[in-house]
Structure formats: structure tokens, C-alpha cells
Symmetry: C2
DNA sequence: ACCTGTTTTAAAATCATTCTAAACTATTGA
DNA sequence: TCAATAGTTTAGAATGATTTTAAAACAGGT
């Protein structure tokens, strides 16, 4: 590993192993995404953060990177609203609260939600994934 | 009720009660949507159907109508893919299979899926709705 | 039939996302 | 170390779904 590799930590090798060149922008975005625990970001948000961190990364690259990271299993895409995609840095099996008013996602911890019966998939299909979204709004009290 | 009312059945009064004028296009779309059992349609699909049925309805009206019907509880919006909205004529409490390859939705019947533990919503919020999407793809065999 | 407020419409606008083609950069092997 | 090559990034154009706009058409009451 060279000095860049040391500076960026694990991301460097993860990218190499996935066959993605560890470029400046991919490493920088990886750092923003993974250095602060579990997060849910949109492309726009991530660009705002990279700008704030003095990295100039085009929106096209943000989208490419988010999609590539999703493909190699570093991120998971969560669809809750038409016309906006969230990317979740937590790829473990879990589900979400979605705050309708603030448009914010929040992980539901481990056993807090449990599926009783899982349905038989239709003939000739197999289950790929189960997404549960608990939509919440501010309680009126 | 006038002759138009009779011709379009229940929809006529439902719209009036919701404060929506029972116009030709709203009644026609209601007929397409509700006369053939449970359905999942996109705006484009509904327009194709109305064209096929010799009703000219603009896309803008299709969108307006789908949104209005959703607001008054005649439809339910299901979000499964970024950038495409499905409207479900079944507003009863139920969940969905989503076929990733064909982009088709299918209702999961009644008790086939059961939630064991339902999580406590975050402080100050109340649960609005729970959406479960079981994503399936063609089985490899 | 007439008035007034709704509704519909075509067309333009918007928004998130993807594509394109050219400029740039990482990697490899000499 | 350097050049060749293949993979990346980028600005800007293109796309596709949806919403907005402003004007024309219409529904319901008088």
C-alpha cells in the first residue's frame, strides 16, 4: 500500500478487491460515507458534504459512486419516496422508520421489528429481499 | 342523480362527497380503475388504457386525478422504484410482492404475511402506516 | 341561458438521474 | 521513470416522470 492507501484506510483495499480503482474521489466519498457511523444520504446531500470538505466532486461522479458502492455491497438503496433515492451505509439486515414530515430515515434496531409469517413467493420466483418501512409523523398531543 | 350518475354508479356520489366534481374524465378514470378488481397502475398505464377506451385524457389530468383519488382514500400509492409511482386500487391493509424483473406489483393476501413485533416509534412520533415489500425475482432452477 | 368557480389541457418548467464525449488519471510493463 | 492503455471524472446535454402555468372548457347553481 502506498501513502494514499494508508491515509484512506480500509476503503483502499475494498475498492481494489471490487475491481474499482481507488481514485481520489471514490476514496474521499468513502471517507465521508463510512467514517461517521450509520448514515442515510441522498446524492445531493453527499455532494453538499464533499463541497463542505473542500473536495470538488461532480454530481455525475456522486451518482456513479453511490451506484457502484451499492453494487459491491457497501451501500444499500432505500426507496421511500417517489423521485428521491436514499443510500444507507448500514448493509446489515434491518428495516426503517421514515419520518414523513422531515423526509428523514432512521434504522430500526435489530429485534425491534420481527416478521411472523413470511409469505410463499409466487410460483417460479424466489425472495430477494424484504423491505419494511414504518412511516411515522409527529404525534399530535 | 342524473343519467350520468346512473351510468357511472357509485363513483358519482363518492366524488361528490369528497368535494370533487364528478367530471367526465374523473368518472371515466374511476371506471377504468375500479371496475376490474384490484389493480396496480402507473400514470402512463392508465393513460394508455383511457386512450384504448376512446377517452382522451391529458397526462396532467391523469396525475391530478390519481393524486386526488389517493388523498380521498380511493387509492394508495406504493413506492418501490425510484422514479416511478404505482397506485393500488386495494386500500385495505395489505402488503406487496414486487417482481424486480418485470416491475410488476402483486398483493400479498391477508394473513400470508404477519408482523411479529412492531417497534415503538421514536419519541414524539406516531405510526402512520407500515409498508412491506417482498422483492422477488425469477428463481434459478 | 348566465355567472362563477372548477377543471382540463397543451405546453413549458422542474427535478432527480443518466448519458455523452472529451479531458484526465491510475496502473502496468518496458 | 515513462509511455501506453484502460478506467474515471467531468461539464453539459439528454431523459423521464411529474408538476406548474395560463388559457380555454365545463359543471353547478341561479
Amino acid at each position: 500500500m502506498n501513502s494514499a492507501g494508508r491515509r484512506y484506510g480500509r476503503a483502499y483495499e475494498i475498492l481494489r478487491e471490487a475491481g474499482l480503482r481507488p481514485t481520489r474521489q471514490r476514496l474521499g466519498l468513502a471517507r465521508l460515507l463510512f467514517e461517521n457511523g450509520d448514515r442515510h444520504v441522498t446524492a445531493e446531500q453527499l455532494q453538499a458534504e464533499s463541497t463542505a470538505a473542500d473536495m470538488r466532486v461532480s454530481l455525475a461522479t456522486i451518482y456513479n459512486t453511490l451506484n457502484q458502492f451499492t453494487q459491491i455491497g457497501l451501500l444499500r438503496e432505500v426507496v421511500v419516496e417517489p423521485g428521491r433515492s436514499y443510500f444507507d451505509t448500514n448493509t446489515a439486515d434491518h428495516h426503517h422508520f421514515f419520518h414523513e414530515e422531515t423526509a428523514k430515515l432512521q434504522d430500526i434496531e435489530g429485534e425491534a421489528i420481527v416478521l411472523g409469517a413470511v409469505p410463499e413467493p409466487p410460483e417460479g420466483t424466489s425472495v430477494e429481499r424484504i423491505d419494511i418501512i414504518v412511516r411515522v409523523k409527529n404525534a399530535v398531543n
